[in-house]
Structures are given as structure tokens and as C-alpha cells.
Symmetry: C2
Subunit: 335 residues, 2 copies
């Protein structure tokens, strides 16, 4: 678990999109986002207080999070000097970069010297068990998608927030790097050894109160040949009681695979539900989340209405319309 709160390192972000990890933290865990640290030429600004490392320490920060993608996949000298300074000031470092912090000898040396931890969230640190398929107490909801990167994490986080507002017990369970940095914990499922994938998700979503809900972050898609195995392990390890279908309506082919068209929501519904029921026969599909970012308000409204009528399931864009109807459907036990 990564100590909070955070100073968000934006580096020399080439554009706002490069800092989307930091933005996720600010949006979904504002209490963790005490300040930002930007280098010269940084094109991102989260409208947080700009802080030096010493100011951050004084404000109670425990970890500096690399909230930005690095250019060219290399940790540059200017970054290294700031990362080193943070360790010397007593902060942990956390990063989801492909280049690991632990592969930088100077950072390893300083972390050891100052008793700090380098949190490379791309690398599992837990020895996960093999899944045992046993029924756990508490409830679980999983977001599944017609494709990768259609808004599964956003949907799950929005549902968690809506449930918290209503005083319901819910926990977002991160299964990817960004989600782990946002919440400070989770399973980097794409980096887990094949035999332990489902077991890592059982570990992530243990027994809980009967009225508690884990909202599990989805990964990949059953219909995406590159990552479908990861998705199925998530479905069988998570043993969800409820599925929320996630979809991006303007995509013309599966992400990165021009030869593969997207499945219909009907296909996703039937396939994901059939696979989920192997482990949890009581599983239901409770709602649909549509990412309408590419549409204007009228188009978005018409689209979700049409999908809702066609699929007979509560359908929203949680970013535009809130996640309340998804939560309501989940809680009411209908469908």
C-alpha cells in the first residue's frame, strides 16, 4: 500500500493528456492530491498548489507520485534529480512507468539510505495464490467492455463515488496501474503470472460484510484477442454478482486490431454473463455505461435512450449523467 497523501509530479509533460494519471488521482482521490510539482516546459496544470518538495513535506505529503508519462520511455536526468531529492527529503516514490524506479541504481541507493520505498506499481509485490473458486461473503460488481479502453475504470470509480454519497458500503478495487496509483493499492493484473491471475483477484476481493460491494475495475475484453485471457481470469476470480457493460459507440474496430470489429452489446451481455455464471450462477447484468465523449449532448441523449430501450437495461454515460442509475439498479436487485 502506497502511503498517502501525495505530491503529484507532472515533470515536463508534453500536453495535458500526458498527465492523465495525475488527473485521475486529483479527480477521484482529491484528498490525496495535496500539490503538484512541475518542471520547466510542463504543459499540464491540474490547478493544484505548485509545491517544492520541502513544502510538500511540510504539508504532510508521504509519497511523490510520477503522474505523467515519460518521453521516449526513458527516465531523464532532470527527472532523476527531482526523484532523488524527494527520497532525500523523506518521501516514498510511486510510479507506473514501464521503466522501473528500481532499475535506477541511484534511486535504489537513496531509498535504502533513507529508509524509503520505491513503489513500482507495474510489478506485483504479493505472492498471489492459485484461485480456489470458493464463495465469499459480500457482493461484487465488475465492469466488462466491448473493447479495451472504453471507460471501465471511470465507470467503476463513478459508481463507487455515487454509492459513498448515498452512504452505501463500496470499495473500488484497482486492477491496473492507474487505478492502483489513484487508490494506493490493487493488483497489476496484466503483470501477474498466468497461473495466479484469478487467484490475485480472489485475494483482492476477500470476504466482506453482506451489504458491502466491491466495484472491480475491468481489464481488456473477452472479445479482444490480445487480452481476453486476462478478462476471463478477472471474471472468474472476481465472481461478480453484477456486471456493468461498458461501450464506446464511435469505435470502428477493436483497439489496435484493424481486422476485428466490435461485438454488439447483446453479444457482450450474453457471453460475459454465461462466463460469469460458471462461477456465480446468480450473476446478473445490471446496467450499461456508454462513453459518449465523442458525441454532443443531443446525440448522447438519443444514443443512451435508444440503447436503454433496445437492451432493457438502465443506460447512462456516468461522466455526463452521473452513475446514480447504475447504482440504483444494482441496489434494487431488479433485472
Amino acid at each position: 500500500m502506497i502511503p498517502t497523501p501525495y505530491l503529484l509530479f507532472l515533470g515536463d509533460a508534453a500536453d495535458p493528456l500526458a498527465a492523465k494519471v495525475a488527473q485521475g488521482i486529483r479527480d477521484w482521490r482529491p484528498d490525496y492530491a495535496v500539490g503538484q510539482l512541475r518542471l520547466e516546459g510542463c504543459k499540464a496544470d491540474l490547478k493544484l498548489k505548485d509545491m517544492t518538495i520541502d513544502e510538500a513535506v511540510a504539508a504532510g505529503v508521504k509519497t511523490m507520485v510520477v503522474g505523467v508519462a515519460n518521453r521516449g520511455g526513458v527516465i531523464s536526468k532532470s527527472w532523476l534529480s527531482v526523484l532523488s531529492e524527494a527520497l532525500e527529503a523523506g518521501l516514498d516514490l510511486a510510479s507506473g512507468l514501464h521503466n522501473l524506479l528500481r532499475d535506477e541504481p541511484e534511486l535504489v541507493r537513496l531509498a535504502e539510505k533513507h529508509g524509503r520505498t520505491l513503489h513500482d506499481v507495474r510489478v506485483p509485490t504479493v505472492k498471489y495464490p492459485i484461485a480456489n473458486g470458493e464463495k465469499r461473503t459480500g457482493k461484487r460488481c465488475l465492469a466488462v467492455g466491448t473493447d479495451c479502453s472504453v471507460g471501465k475504470m471511470y465507470t467503476a470509480l463513478a459508481m463507487e463515488r455515487a454509492m459513498a454519497k448515498q452512504g452505501m458500503k463500496a470499495t473500488f478495487r484497482a486492477t491496473g496501474q492507474t487505478g492502483i496509483l489513484i487508490t494506493g493499492e490493487g493488483v497489476p493484473l496484466d503483470a501477474v503470472i498466468a497461473d495466479f491471475m484469478a487467484g490475485s483477484i480472489e485475494w483482492l476481493t476477500p470476504d466482506n460484510d453482506d451489504d458491502h460491494l466491491d466495484i472491480i475495475e475491468g481489464q481488456g475484453s473477452l472479445f479482444h484477442p490480445s487480452f481476453s485471457g486476462v478478462t476471463l481470469a478477472l471474471i472468474h476470480g472476481g465472481a461478480p454478482d453484477a456486471l456493468v457493460l461498458c461501450h464506446e459507440p464511435t469505435r470502428t474496430h477493436m483497439r489496435g486490431l484493424p481486422g476485428y470489429s466490435l461485438p454488439s452489446l447483446e453479444d457482450l451481455h450474453d457471453t460475459a454473463l454465461a462466463m460469469a455464471r460458471i462461477v456465480n450462477p446468480a450473476c446478473r447484468v445490471t446496467g450499461i455505461s456508454v462513453n459518449t465523449a465523442a458525441l454532443d449532448d443531443d446525440e448522447a441523449h438519443t444514443l443512451v435512450k435508444d440503447i436503454e430501450a433496445r437492451m432493457n437495461l438502465p443506460t447512462v454515460d456516468p461522466y455526463r449523467h452521473g452513475a446514480e442509475r447504475l447504482v440504483e439498479a444494482l441496489a434494487s436487485g431488479r433485472n
Copy 2:
């Protein structure tokens, strides 16, 4: 790739079953199995020539294969002394044990000194790509099971042999430790990092002649919660043109999971075919392999006849009846 031929090390096998890896090599790659080396108290005997390491070297052996499970999961002193001797005599070592050869400092030292290689087939040595889902030339057949350990490897090896006898071009593609030791190469799929599972199988079954068939060793089962993700990655990475359904009729629950009953062959047929067609719309189910080891001849005969009539697919126990009908159905393009 592991250099052949082999000396099969049976150690102090507690019973014949403990030497099943060695038995698989002798049965399926008899040309590789030049001799056996047994320690005092060994209860296994493959009826191969007992050889000292020097005799094996003189007979042209290149690798000593640990063909036996170790007691208590520890590589004992008596084993270590024989393994060391093999390296000193110029042999490579190959093992599928959980305890890795490379974790024994003395073996590492001797391998370096003598320029030999320690082949721990549980650990991937290749940096596999992420799957790209692109169509490859040549044909592929995959064995899928109602459960784990129902005879998928045996079925695939028997089909390869039957095809070779008929002069057809076929290659068994190993995806597990035993298969890799038998053939000398393959992908230890259960030890591959999640993101690269499907890519490792694309790598294993590359473009080939139009009339060449890869017979891919199956792993796990879509219906086994612990390993289903591995199975789906295998289906989508392998992109099979043909599926052979494998079944063990006397099993009362999924292997290791008392709470899970087995799917019917109909369920397996429909689910595996639907998932396979996401990547290869032309995929067909061409036959059924039933492991009748627990039945007498009459029962076995009746059972396969009944299943064949019910499923309308060629059904055999390849161990009892040969794999010829499975191969014939595959080649004829029927069903």
C-alpha cells in the same frame, strides 16, 4: 531448444507414477530416450538401458533430463551429486521441477565452468510479444477440455503421431512443462506474464505451409475458475481452425474444486467454439477424445458410441482406439 538425445534421470522415484515425465518422453519421442539413470531405491523402470553418465556421453547423449518428481520439493544431495557429474561430463541439464536448477549455486557454477546450459522449462526464456490477432498461414488444431488433466496432451501427441504415419505434415506444439521436455521446446504458458499469454501462443504457432497442421497442447479449461484465463489466451492466441473436445467421464467435480460440477460436452462445444470464432470464424469442432482409463473395454466401447451418436462427432479414446478417426475427420473437412 533442449539438445537431444536424452539420458532420463529417474532418481529415487517413489513409484512408477513419479517418473511420468520420463515415461512421456520414452512413449512419444523414443528416439530421444537413449537410456535411464536410476539411484538406489528407485521404484520406476522404463525398460531402457541403464547407463552411467559416461556411457550416455559415449552413446551421443546431449542432455540429462530430470524425468521424475522430487520428494518433498527439495533437490536432495544425492541428486545434486549426479546432476553435477552430468555437467562435468559435458551434458546440459533439463528440468520441469518447481525448484529451479538455476537456484542451486553449485549447478550454476559447474554449468558456467563447462559451458553447459541449465534448462528450467518452468521459466519462460523468450520475451514474447503482445498478440496481434493477425491471420497466419497453415492450419491449427487445439485440444480443449471439460476439465484440467483429462488427456489433452495425450490426445494431441497421439494425433501428431497418427498424422506423421500417414505422411501428413503435423507438429505437436507444447504449452506445458511435460510437453516441453518431451519435444525439447515450447511455451510454459502457465508461467507467462498475463499480457503476453496470447502472444506467446502466436509465437509458438507461426506462419507455415498451407498443408501443415500445428496440434496445440491444451491447458486448463474454460470451465475451471482457477485457470480459465490461460485457456482463453490459448484459444485466442492459437486461433485454431479445429477444436477437439477432451473429456474424462468418471470425474465427479472439477479438478481440485469440489463445489464445481463438470460442464457437459455440449456446453464445452458451444462455449469453446463461440470463443474460438471471435478470432477464427471458420473454426469447427472436428472430434471428441474420451479418456476411458477407468472403464473396461465394453464400457469404453459403449460410452464412445453413445457420445458419438449424441454429439454427431467422431469419438474415440486415442489410447484404446488410436487417433486415426480424429485425424481423418480433421483432414476431410467434414463437420
